[in-house]
Amino acid sequence: MSATLPAQTDQSTLTGAEIVLRALKEQGVEVIFGYPGGAVLPIYDALFQQNAIRHILVRHEQAAVHAAEGYARSTGKVGCVLVTSGPGATNAVTGLLDALMDSVPLVCLTGQVPTHLIGNDAFQEADTTGITRPATKHNYLVKKIGDLSRTVHDAFYVARSGRPGPVVVDLPKDILLAKGTYEEAPREEHRSYRPQTRPDGAQIAKAVALLKGARRPVVYAGGGVINAGPEASELLARFVRMANMPCTNTLMSLGVFPASDPRFIGMLGMHGTVEANLAMHGCDVMFNIGARFDDRVTGRLNAFSPGSKKIHADIDPSNINKNVKVDVPIVGDAAAVLRALIEAWEADGAEQDREAISAWWREIDGWRARDCLRYEQSGSIIKPQHAVKRLYEITREMGRDTFISTEVGQHQMWAAQYFGFEKPNRWMTSGGLGTMGYGLPAAAGVQIAYPDALVIDIAGEASILMNIQEMGTLAQYRLPVKVFILNNEYMGMVRQWQELLHGSRYSESYSASLPDFVKLAESFHARGLRATDASQLDDVIREMIAHPGPVIADICVDQKENVFPMIPSGAAHNEMILGAGQAGGVAGVTDEGKVLV
């Protein structure tokens, strides 16, 4: 028994709150991100009397969930959140749905009014399980002290098994105060939830046959490879190199394949590279591992990769044949799939058509030569692309382990395009839900997990204001997070769409009455820096990194810059719009496309 939690001498000497903490400890929880309130006071009281679990006090419950997401995505562990009933729980909902869409394992403990008041419209009562049902992978309301330990253990099992996701455990206050018995995590299999992780051998054989015979193959790797652990990324790199295939990553999976490898053809999708999208469009065999054919990736479905045979490996069978009908479905964990695939590939006697693959590479290199991410940095106005590129180059020169989070919008896409990632778990972004305000609390969560690493939130001036209160959390815990704002005084992605789709009528997208970010940083006990001229950029970046505490760097960038390449809504992969001065681009948004988001 741990000395830091009360020893269980009598069978019924633990309160519900103590049982919760003991279960968390058994599940390996070291940090909880939370915010107290009436219904969870018993848990806060128990937290006060122990040292095994550290509590990080955020400034808003949404931020608690994003911080736990950042912690979970950078470590591969289950993130843990503690919030009170009513508004505590409803504030957490955006974060929960964010974690659901991006498959992040979390357990969120919510306080609830005592069981006898449930349904009475009591103070700070909310139907938390009702509200969070579509925003979680699963949720529980504990109504008996005897179910408590088992439920918390189950929650962690569900959160991390199969396709990971957030799980809510709703805890009425009387249950937290009741006396009960602690039970260890069950050893036997879960009664009903047993996701398949080992792939079917026959499907692997079909995949190998298709891939061996491919003349224009492409590997499309998604976030599922990250969720399968670092070994899966190593296996992916091994497979891609031995098969000499081009590899593209989704927004979620950047870092899963080294950006510096010549076989990496960049991110794909709406703001992906020309070479990645044209390779997807023109391939004859596509191997999707751990991605879900998201609409931001596929563009117009009936024009998506029309001539290819498609292999789709996913741990979640509901992802298969959801948007795109595939030829070889494989259900399994990405690491297990890649291991089986490499084994079968090596055992298979057939040879690849090396000549055809060389010709395919020449074609890809031709697309690459168009240098679709080229931009002109001339004069004193800082191009946002250049700001990200210099940030990348300077951090790379320094050789420090660097973690990047982002908010949502243009800056997010520039970060994805211009910052190269060599390893998984270094890139934290809100992909599925697109939650502005994600990046700052997520960066705080990463910094808690890696106190000595360089953690940077690449932000926009609009997004950052959505959870700016978390500067207080950085100050309290001395978290040296760097907030790198690409300040173009616009909700840039909204402005870009208004320019392209709505006749440049910039309705409500101007960031009026902005705070002075330097003074704002100072008022939160952080360092504030600003660059308004291209000549200041490098010095500001270096000073930001060198400062031992938290920093806001306000980088005033070109207000008119747009994110290119761009596949307009409702268009196909071969209908990209390119940046100024670049030929190509069929462009034009159709009326059908205008309806899409």
Partner: protein, 171 residues
């Protein structure tokens, strides 16, 4: 991929008999925009705390495959089967049909009830309530015939279904 042919599927789902499980299933259908033509639920195994849900739905093959996969990944779901795809099966629905009337209309209602093998389970001088089981089509037909004869109220269970022969759905 572009197959737009709609079909009706009868899906059987074995679930944990616990609070909220029906809300999860219904929420899945409404949240993802799937049709529910009927849905029934009742406990079927007290010892193992299992309930059985029968959902009748329509959609393309791709949608129905999605519905099955989405149901299957719910934590309290033990097993999902598309009975209409997996072979011959029986479907039954129970209806209580109340008819109000006197004289010739009432006589005609009782005669038709007989013909449809509906049982009269309650009667007064001016009303009769039939209980009938059968397929949804048969009940539809009976209800349509009762309409001009003083149909007052219908209560239906929705379909329950089971595979023919020795095949069975086991958790």
């Amino acid at each position: 991929m572009s197959d737009t042919t709609q079909r009706t599927a009868t899906i059987a789902v074995l679930v944990e008999n616990e609070a909220g499980v029906l809300a999860r299933v219904i929420g899945l259908f409404s949240g993802r925009g799937y049709n529910i033509e009927s849905l029934t639920v009742a406990p079927v195994d007290a010892e193992r705390r299992l309930s059985r849900i029968t959902v009748v739905t329509t959609g393309t093959d791709m949608i129905i495959e999605q519905i099955k996969a989405q149901l299957d990944r719910l934590v309290p779901v033990h097993m999902v089967a598309d009975l209409s795809l997996e072979g011959p099966h029986l479907t039954r629905e129970l209806a209580l049909v109340k008819v109000i009337g006197r004289g010739e209309a009432r006589m005609e209602a009782l005669r038709l009830g007989d013909a449809f093998r509906a049982r009269v389970v309650d009667a007064s001088h001016e009303s009769a309530t039939f209980e009938m089981t059968g397929t949804a089509d048969k009940i539809d037909a009976f209800v349509a015939l009762m309409r001009p004869l003083g149909l007052a109220e219908v209560s239906r269970t929705g379909a329950v279904a089971i595979a023919r022969g020795p095949r069975s759905l086991a958790a």
